[in-house]
Amino acid sequence: MVFKQISVTSIAEVIHNVQQVEFPTDHFISSQEIVELKRKIKQNCDVMIAYAQHVLPVAAKGSYHEAILRQLRQDVMLVRAECGKVNANFAGAKHRSKLTQLHAAYEEMRLAAVLVCQGAEPELIDSLAVAL
């Protein structure tokens, strides 16, 4: 198996590489929708991690910028963990609550990404928030 390493060095590249995630609002969700949702979320997590890993080494130690990048990385890890709990055999209220938790974690990650963008390229805040 070949692992493709993602190289993301700017917010514009982040916007170019992420896919828009929409959490289903219907009561019934098909397995296909869940698989597609998880695929998009994982892709976005990889892009955000790649960007954070690129920028973190040059961020000033102990600065707000470094703190918010670490927060973004932490939020991405949480989203990945929550994503792993949602399976494709989707049925019942228990799984529904897991999807709600994933949605909440994803919104936190989106917020952290917006904060990172606000510091780096404020004119792209809305573009990034919509792209995610």
């Binding site: 707000y64 927060q71 904060l115 404020p122 805040i125 928030a129």
Partner: protein
Amino acid sequence: MAKQQPKAVQKREKTLGYLAGEYRESLEYTAELKRAIDGFRGNIPPNSPYRYLRSEVGGAILTTLESKSPQTIPQLIKELQSGGCVFGAVKTPQEIVTKAVKALVAIGKVEWADQAKSQVRLSKSP
């Protein structure tokens, strides 16, 4: 009615194309403006309505707390908005400022001033 359908689609596509072009141009113009602003040395005057334009949210919060401390989250939001801080339209200032304050608390630059965690101030320890 059936004949008008393609015309409506064409109009919609044409309008969308026009709007996309305008948006793209405005982005380029914004980037040029930012480069021009960054070309100037020194700070924006502290009484300017755009004093936080070049600051990160965290930096703007620290600047505010240096002069006025302690502050509640709504007070910080009001101050940052009056200073022209960029928040965008998708996430609310409440969400952004709260997350920024939590990040500053995590690195020890600011601390909660009360047990209810409603007010923040600059951290006493360096």
